[in-house]
């Protein structure tokens, strides 16, 4: 199993050291046997606990199988009889919204069941709420939650569940990149302003480069381009130190490495940032890029994004019907130039100010000094 190491200190001749260690063979065997018994016992506990989870899932699946089934567009419903009309109305509404965006891709929801059942609070029926869950083909619930027993609220929740599944159909690479659900609306001027703030506030040097118009930096900022070592390539020593000071406060904040980093040792800062998997890129910006691509693509953009094969730039290009570079350029332009009207001064501010002035003057005139 072991080879002779090429390293040496002093003599290169390997020592043939035969170490028959008198460790008390019986004691060792006892240690190992005891641990093996302990492991067997732990395994029984784990199997029991795991079985309890599976039994619970099975019981939920049996509970759901006793409910009524229905279909509303792309939604295959399982619902309590009492709330079946509510469920169908909500599903119809959600289906209409999703078909407008995803078109034929909504058929990908056929492998799921959307369960809507009565809600219980400490054993009593709660008529103001319903429980909503998403179960897969085996009947196991993969997502669950609750909503108010109103068509609008249930419809929104169903749309959210459906969107969650449809986003996953865009492939693991896209999901790992986006780390959020596909957005269902376009960017407003206020949201572009917030995104601009994120870009100019980012600690990575590519933020400033993107804002100044360098397309490659924009691509890096939204993780369409990559570098081997973002921590070293996109930060200078001062920013690495500040990143450790501000962002790695809880993680490893007690080690000598942190003290050395804050004392000026850049290698220690790099060590900590690498170990923490520090990601200098603002992930929420990626959602704004997707919304830009979907806005450029117009009708059918969502469907093309989901149905496309390939990496993230390919999907964005398919959605927008222009190359990915063009999407990034359009995104950068909006980041840079979209403005909201200033609300530094509004009529309500003026009215409130005048009101307070009048009040203060009135109170001062009541002073006995003037009467």
């Amino acid at each position: 199993m072991f080879r002779r190491s090429t390293m040496s200190r002093g003599a290169r001749a390997a020592l043939s050291v035969s170490l028959s260690v008198a460790l008390g063979g019986a004691a060792q065997a006892q240690n190992r046997a005891a641990l093996e018994q302990h492991i067997v016992s732990l395994a029984k506990q784990y199997v029991s606990a795991d079985s309890a989870v599976r039994a619970y899932d099975d019981s939920i699946a049996r509970l759901n199988s006793a409910l009524d089934t229905a279909t509303a567009g792309a939604f295959r419903l399982t619902t309590s009889r009492r709330i079946a009309p509510l469920a169908r109305a909500a599903a119809d509404k959600a289906d209409r919204g999703l078909r407008d965006l995803f078109g034929a891709s909504t058929t990908r929801l056929s492998s799921y069941r959307f369960v809507i059942r009565d809600s219980r609070n400490r054993g009593k029926l709660d008529t103001s709420r319903v429980e909503i869950a998403l179960s897969d083909s085996t009947g196991r619930e993969v997502l669950s939650g609750a909503a108010n027993a109103e068509v609008e609220a249930v419809s929104r929740y169903l749309s959210s569940l459906a969107l969650n599944r449809l986003t996953r159909t865009a492939g693991p690479d896209f999901n790992a990149w986006l780390q959020a659900q596909l957005p269902m609306d376009t960017m407003t001027a206020a949201e572009w302003s917030k995104a601009r703030l994120v870009v100019v506030s980012t600690w990575a040097s590519v933020g400033k480069g993107c804002y100044d118009g360098r397309a490659h930096d924009c691509g890096a900022l939204v993780a369409l381009e990559s570098t081997n070592d973002p921590v070293m390539d996109w930060f200078d020593p001062r920013m690495r130190r500040e990143a450790v000071r501000q962002h790695l406060r809880a993680f490893d904040n007690r080690s000598e490495t942190r003290s050395e980093c804050l004392g000026g040792d850049d290698a220690s800062c790099a060590t900590m940032l690498h170990r923490a998997g520090f990601n200098p890129l603002p992930i929420p910006l990626r959602g704004s890029l997707v919304r830009q691509a979907l806005a450029l693509g117009g009708t059918g953009a969502y469907e093309r994004l989901v149905e496309a094969n390939g990496d993230v730039p390919t999907r964005l290009a398919a959605a927008a019907r222009v190359p990915a570079d063009s999407v990034v350029r359009a995104w950068q332009s909006n980041i840079r130039f979209t403005r909201v009207p200033s609300d530094a001064m509004r009529s309500s501010i003026a009215a409130a100010s005048l009101g307070w002035i009048v009040l203060c003057v009135g109170l001062s005139l009541r002073s006995s000094r003037w009467r």
Binding site: S8, V17, R32, L35, D57
Partner: protein, 394 residues
Amino acid sequence: MALTFPRWLSAAVIGCALLLVAVWRGGVSTERPPLPRRDDLARRAGSAHNQITAAVDRLRVLELRDSLAARHGGTATSNGTVYVDRHFSSELRTLFDAVVQREPQTLSPAGVPMDVAFVLDSGRAAPSAAGAAVAQAVTLSGRASPGRVARAYLLPALGSDDRCLALVRVDQRGNGGMYGGRYDLVRAPSLAGPCAYYQAFGRPGPAIDRWLRERGWMLGQRTAWRRALAARADAAYWPAYRSPFYFFDGWAARQDLTPAGIRCHAGDIAACERALFDPAKSGPATWGDGIITFDPRRTTELGMVERQLRSEMVRTLGPDRFAQFWHSTESPAAAFKTAAGVSMGEWTHDLLVRTYGEQHLGPGIETASMGMGALVLAIGLGVGLAAARRRTIG
């Protein structure tokens, strides 16, 4: 109706009572809200899985210990013998070379040599021949993550000629980057761990050894006793803007230390002694007849300073006085007092003060603030009196 003093008093008492009732009744339940049933079941299953994974990892260490018991070959160094699994990549062998060559030479004439074994390991025990039940249990455990580097130290058994063995288990899978566990291996001041003390000072006295195996080996992963423990200034932990109503001196220590550690820091020597000598709630420092594996999730009584204590003892006492403590046949408390001149509790308190500055408990005013407050009070009264003296009508 005039608010006479009795009425005022009644109003105050009744008002306080009403406020107490209102605040307490409108308060929150002290009961933790129950988890949803499935989340609770999943949490239990997850906890059981973690336990079995940890136990299988220990079984792996025992298997390696047994297989290394009859080790031969290797390369002799000034500290001991080094063994490297032949299946490692050339990049990793180069890394191990660098780590070993950087190791301080600490073996003394009375010391116990340290062997180092770099083992290619994915962290999971092979299904044992001991029985199908064990084999099945092992398959349930989780696998180690790629790139993992795990260290274990096998102490010399009592009354034997054993060497100390530093077992370094390396999972070669992964991108081969220099990050994570491999970077730790390069950046750590020393590989020797507890073995460094055996190398430098030989075997400890029997009472000292008992204390070390029960508690003492937790008091220091760090063996770079030639480097002083870095002071942890408040400024390193405070944000750019520090509200004077929230941050106070000693804040950094409160981030690092447990309540027991804070009491020790503030001067409660008994708290220091309990933290040092009482058995730890998380179990003994060694297992399996003298094996040490450091679990970063293990809670410590004194916080992170606990990991630096023993090396600071060597540095501040000096090797000779530390050796006197190490070889003593007295209890650890008495042996330390004899060697250092102060109790271990007092020494620990002094260490905390040197590292973090002063610490105080409860509401209080700094001496300087109290002096300034008294001065302001006197000045305020003086100004008031002077203004009254100068006052004229008109």
